[in-house]
């Protein structure tokens, strides 16, 4: 009895609770949030945290070579696991180097918690050494950010940051930590169940709207389901539900770049990727459909093409957890706010309750039309002769990985190789395809692959890259070597910033201004310099051997594969053009000169 009284008393009195340093509080909070890996780089303003890291073994720290690499690695880690990626960097340049990664995570809705050091509170605003206004700089590129000025707020803020980063539409959160707060003594608080009052994302969709949606979809004659990264963010169950939903409706399903893997590419109802470099059948179906169901997709300009010609005759239904995504670019007739998993579940229930059955005859006719578009075979390419077509390389990579018993993850950088990988590598599972979609960050893929491999040590992780993107963050090769991460870097080397070159060819009279790279390194020797294996192939006949060896080698590899420098990504919707105005191949010329409106678009 007496003991119980004492325990109660102990809980009531904060002074009786154990005092810890801010740095210890941070590490305890991270551990309680289930964090096992942190990507970071030390510096003066985070030394107390690094000292606390040294004295514990629950959390592993991965030492990157530049802070930008840390954020992309955490993105790869987060997207391949569904967990929050954690970054730890110092003040000033540490924080500013992280900005690109934070923006990337914001655009692609990746949950990241980034801890930044800050000069001590009494020096803030004094232009102190390595001081930057981190909360000011990161305000527009984070979902939310905090500057913690009292050590007793620390634990609560860290817990709240994890909740904000991972719930609703996920995104990056920065916690700026002045050095005196890291060293001060304070009290730890457990992660609370109660959420912040002003932040309560809506998970369940409006049931009446869901019923309306069923009615609309049931009566559709030419439906299409257009799904995006939101499905993947909602979790694997949402992808399963999407599959069922597509199955019962009989509709074709297309995916955005970020959505690849949310629906199996090998399924017959999949019509390929949509958008600027999507398939002919997908874009034509988007244009001609009478009902469009957007699931966790945001009508990005790379998807819609010319807005006033975007799917002109369709009734549009949009499901998204972010109300601001609905009616942002494209007017939708029925917007349902909610988590994709929750809404699809209710949608399936409502479908059954309604004894939903699609109009079979119309759907059949619709598929006949789609098959006709499919027969154009828009992804065809001609691999003849010695010069390696990049599409061929990606196809062969896909075939080789299919024979693997290991889980296979693919990351890319940004540019032509990214589009070829999206087009020619079939993704059947969510969370296995990692690319920088919204921000288009060259230099994303290598550190992202590193993050994936940290989370999945036994998986086969292939980072497909162009030689230019690869060089943007190749300092991380050193990290890969340090942690013995067997990442396979496959460089589709065409000696150009290929996508820039392609646009210059198509839109700027083939004036290749600054898009050719002189003095590229010898990537094989580069690999050797970092202590890893380097491979090279320059002929089509060598591709299979190169890929087989790359996969077989037990350790990190850089495979330098020389590909056709003149190859362009097709099909393509030129900027400012409509979906039904695609270029299918080099034979197609831009129909009319791209309008000025189109030229100003990126």
């Amino acid at each position: 009895m007496l003991k119980a009284f004492v325990d109660d008393y102990a809980e009531e009195d904060p002074m009786a609770r154990e005092q810890m340093t801010g740095a210890q509080i941070i590490l305890k909070a991270l551990a309680d949030q289930g964090v096992t890996d942190v990507f970071g780089y030390p510096g003066g303003a985070v030394l107390p945290i690094y000292d606390a890291i040294f004295q514990q073994n629950r959390i592993r720290h991965i030492l990157v070579r530049q802070e930008g690499g840390a954020v992309h690695a955490a993105e790869g880690y987060a997207r391949s696991t569904g967990k929050v990626g954690v970054v730890l960097v110092t003040s000033g340049p540490g924080a500013t180097n992280a900005v690109t990664g934070l923006t990337d995570a914001l655009m692609d809705s990746i949950p990241i918690v980034c801890l930044t050091g800050q000069v001590p509170t009494h020096l803030i605003g004094n232009d102190a050494f390595q001081e930057a206004d981190t909360t000011g700089i990161t305000r527009p590129c984070t979902k939310h950010n905090y500057l913690v000025k009292d050590v007793n707020d620390l634990a609560r803020v860290v817990h709240e940051a994890f909740d904000v980063a991972s719930s609703g539409r996920p995104g990056p959160v920065v916690i700026d930590l002045p050095k005196d707060v890291q060293m001060g003594l304070g009290v730890y608080v457990e992660k609370e169940a109660s959420k912040r009052k002003s932040y309560q994302p809506q998970l369940k969709g409006d049931l009446n709207k869901i019923k309306d949606a069923v009615e609309i979809i049931k009566n559709a004659k030419r439906p299409i389901i257009y799904a995006g990264g939101g499905v993947i963010n909602s979790g694997p169950a949402a992808s399963q539900l999407l599959r069922k939903f597509v199955r019962v409706t009989g509709a074709p399903c297309t995916l955005t770049l970020m959505g690849l893997g949310a629906y199996p590419a090998s399924d017959k109802q999949f019509v390929g990727m949509v958008g600027m470099h999507g398939t002919y059948e997908s874009n034509m179906a988007m244009h001609d459909c009478d009902v469009m169901v957007a699931v966790g997709a945001r009508f990005d300009d790379r998807i819609t093409g010319r807005l006033d010609a975007f799917s002109p005759d369709s009734t549009k239904i949009q499901i998204d957890i972010d109300p601001s995504s609905i009616n942002k670019n494209v007017h939708v007739d029925l917007g349902i706010v909610g988590d994709i998993g929750h809404v699809l579940e209710d949608l399936m229930k409502a479908w059954r309750a309604n004894h939903g059955k699609s109009d079979e005859n119309s759907i059949k006719k619709w598929w006949q039309q789609i098959e006709e578009w499919r027969s154009v075979d828009c992804m065809k390419f001609d691999q003849s002769g010695d010069i390696v077509k990049p599409q061929y390389a990606v196809r062969r990579l896909y075939e080789h990985t299919q024979q693997q018993s290991k889980d296979v993850f693919v990351t890319t950088e940004v540019g032509q190789h990214q589009m070829w990988t999206a087009q020619h590598f079939g993704f059947d599972k969510p969370n296995h395809w990692l690319t920088s979609g919204g921000l288009g960050t060259m230099g994303y893929g290598l550190p992202a692959a590193m993050g994936v491999q940290v989370a999945h040590p036994d998986a086969l992780v292939v980072g497909v890259a162009g030689e230019s993107s690869f060089m943007m963050n190749m300092q991380e090769l050193s990290t890969i070597q340090q942690y013995r991460l067997p990442v396979k870097c496959l460089i589709l080397n065409n000696f150009y910033m290929g996508m820039v070159r392609q646009w210059q060819e198509l839109l700027h009279g083939s004036r290749y201004s600054e898009s050719y790279m002189e003095s590229l390194p010898d990537f094989v020797k580069l690999a050797e310099a970092f202590g890893m294996t380097g491979l090279r192939a320059t002929k089509a006949s060598e591709v299979d051997d190169l890929l087989a060896e790359m996969i077989k080698i037990d350790g990190p590899v850089i495979a330098d594969l020389h590909v056709d420098p003149k190859e362009n990504v097709f099909p393509m919707i030129p900027s400012g053009a409509a979906h039904n105005d695609m270029l299918l191949g080099p034979g197609d010329k831009v129909g009319q000169p791209v309008s000025e409106d189109g030229m100003v678009l990126v």
Binding site: R139, H144, L147, S198, L307, D308, S324, K328
Partner: protein, 175 residues
């Protein structure tokens, strides 16, 4: 490339936020970052005990833009509620202005007479100047300022619009 002739509307939006550092910067950054207009913006803590501030913002845009603005505001973590007073029903809008007029003789007498008509008050006076305080909706203040201009107007300081719904409903009760 949007349908060009969507009419522009002016809306008065009330936003209830946690009063914490940076919250105003978040709101203003949202408007400037996304290219929305701010015609006026006022902010002050209204519930000291609960650390709540109320922001009143007057903005213009097409219907889709206004809807976007509200959805984007609602996305900010410290924002509790967003109400579009222009849509939600009759509301009272008020602005306060301090207007300095310098002059002597007839002009001085005339300025006092107009002050009377507008139910403004002289809150400071010297032999050659007045400071008037005027409260009303923005167009009333515009009219007052225009009338004062030929009478020696030198300075105007305006608060921007504050607004509240008529009737018993409250936007602060639940949050």
């Amino acid at each position: 490339m949007n349908p060009p002739e969507e009419p522009q509307r002016t809306h008065t939006i009330a936003v209830l936020v946690d009063n914490e550092p940076g919250v105003l910067a978040r709101v203003i950054g949202l408007f400037s970052g996304r290219g929305y207009n701010i015609e006026s913006l006022t902010v002050a803590e209204t519930r000291r005990g609960r650390h709540l501030s109320r922001i009143t913002v007057v903005t213009t845009g097409t219907r889709m833009v206004i809807e976007q603005i509200k959805a984007q505001l609602m996305r900010l973590i410290p924002v509790h509620s967003v109400s579009d007073l222009t849509l939600e029903g009759p509301h009272v809008e008020r602005e306060l202005a301090l207007v300095k007029v310098r002059g002597t003789g007839d002009a001085r007498v005339e300025s006092l007479r107009i002050c009377d008509i507008f139910r403004a008050r002289a809150v400071d006076s010297t032999n050659e100047s007045f400071v008037f305080e005027i409260v009303g909706n923005s167009s009333k203040i515009d009219a007052f300022v225009e009338l004062m201009r030929p009478l020696g107007l030198t300075d105007v300081s305006r608060t921007g619009v504050v607004a509240i719904l008529r009737g018993p409903e409250s936007m602060e009760s639940e949050s």
